[in-house]
């Protein structure tokens, strides 16, 4: 199928970017990223700079890939990352706009690649527990309620892709931060640091130039792992408790 691609090209973090249009011929059996790989091979053979984008596992588990396709983070398919999107979604003559995540918390490095180290700093601020190291603990030594185990696992399925920030009209990082906090705050092992974690992660998030949550819900609809905004309510609740416990 013949496609018209409008791709955001930006040479560096402080360069001005712009859309460049490419015509390409793709097969419906390709993945979206393979289609871009083919465009890049052509660009390279013409001596042009290839389109820079992030990817690693290409099976939806690492969270490295991510771009906004026709206005939707990770493209039109639900519950999928862009590496899982296939070209059978498109038809001959389609026009596709491809942009990087747009958020000041995620500065563009080049083309479609953004710097998501803000997420690493949020996790570093509170995404840990203190345990005695040594031999592996007995598997059933700490009982975890089934409901909590499920909720914690759901929150832990966040792959840190950043689609929530990209989709949010406020560019808020609340879904990610809440998921990372909830994952530990729901487990017995996460209790000792619970309220300090909440404060530290929120303060770090605030320092990273993300916007403020207004409960639009766009993050939940964009999340490839279907993280629910319930985790945001939990973080809000824990923040209040943390303030009451502090001072």
């Amino acid at each position: 199928m013949k496609l018209k691609l409008h791709v955001w090209r930006q040479a560096g973090p402080s360069e001005r970017g712009r859309f460049v249009t490419y015509d390409t011929d793709a097969s419906e059996h390709m993945s979206f990223l393979e289609m871009l790989d083919v465009v890049n091979e052509e660009l390279e053979s013409n001596g042009e700079e290839p389109i820079v984008f992030d990817s690693d596992c290409r099976e939806g588990i690492c969270g490295t890939c991510g771009m906004v396709i026709n206005g939707r983070p990770h493209g039109p398919w639900k519950r999928t990352t862009v590496c899982q999107l296939h070209m059978r979604e498109y038809g001959d003559g389609d026009e596709i706009w491809v942009e990087p995540w747009r958020a000041d918390g995620f500065p563009v490095q080049r083309d479609l690649m953004v710097d998501r180290s803000a997420f690493d700093r949020i996790v570093a601020a509170g995404g840990y527990i203190s345990v005695r190291t040594g031999s592996a603990p007995d598997a059933n030594a700490i009982a975890v309620e089934q409901v909590d185990a499920e909720k914690s696992m759901d929150a832990a399925s966040c792959i840190g892709c950043g689609a929530c920030v990209a989709a949010c009209p406020n560019a808020s990082a609340m879904l990610f931060t809440s998921a990372k906090a909830a994952h530990l705050n729901l487990l017995p092992q996460g209790q000792p640091e619970r309220y300090g974690r909440v404060l530290d992660m929120i303060l770090t998030m605030e320092a990273e130039q993300f916007g403020t949550c207004t409960n639009h819900g766009a993050c939940e609809n964009a999340c490839p792992k279907e993280i629910k905004i319930d985790v945001i309510a939990m973080l809000n609740r824990d923040y209040m408790k943390a303030l009451l416990k502090a001072s």
Partner: protein, 225 residues
Amino acid sequence: MRRVYSLYSTSVGKKYTMAVSGAIFVLFVIVHMFGNLKVYLGPEAFNHYAEGLREFGEPFLGYEWFLWVFRAGLVAFLLIHTVAAWQTSRQSWAARGQKYKKQEKLVFHYASRTMRWGGVALLLFVVYHILHLTTGTLHPDFVPGDAYHNFVTGFRSVPVVAAYTLAMIALGLHLYHGIWSAFQTMGLDGPRTKRWRMPMALAVSLIVVLVNLSFPVAVYTGILQ
């Protein structure tokens, strides 16, 4: 003090203050609506109610004391709500310097996207509403003390009815998202709460809008004279 400061130092804390002040407005809007329903009982009942507001708490409180404390409280909460709205909005605007060329709206409902301009519209409306029916400054035939007369004569003009209608639409949208959102912001999402909070927000906002709009319509169609 430190707690108050830390509440206000993050957007999560600012949202709390918006949710609490917003919830107070919601209660006010509901009480205000019930009070106004008395207009259907005739001039005497309505004027008695209006006078009752001024005499509320007597003889323990002086004339109009309660009313002024009440007004001061509302203004204070309005200030908190508006300043927090302004600050969080600015933080969000600054968070996406480069806009998308294409952006699909993935939000739950349209109402959430009206909160900012709708809030400004409400602020303007509150000012107009006070100048219209409290002070009478923008009223063609204001009689101090005759609330029923002011009410009925105040809605005999198309532009006024149109302004109130637009304001009520803005209020309905703000209430629908605001009520639901306040539950989420305050972390009230227990299994049962979660089921009814959105339908309840819709029901409350619809009732408030329809009842409030019934007043100008009743005057305009001659049901209230």
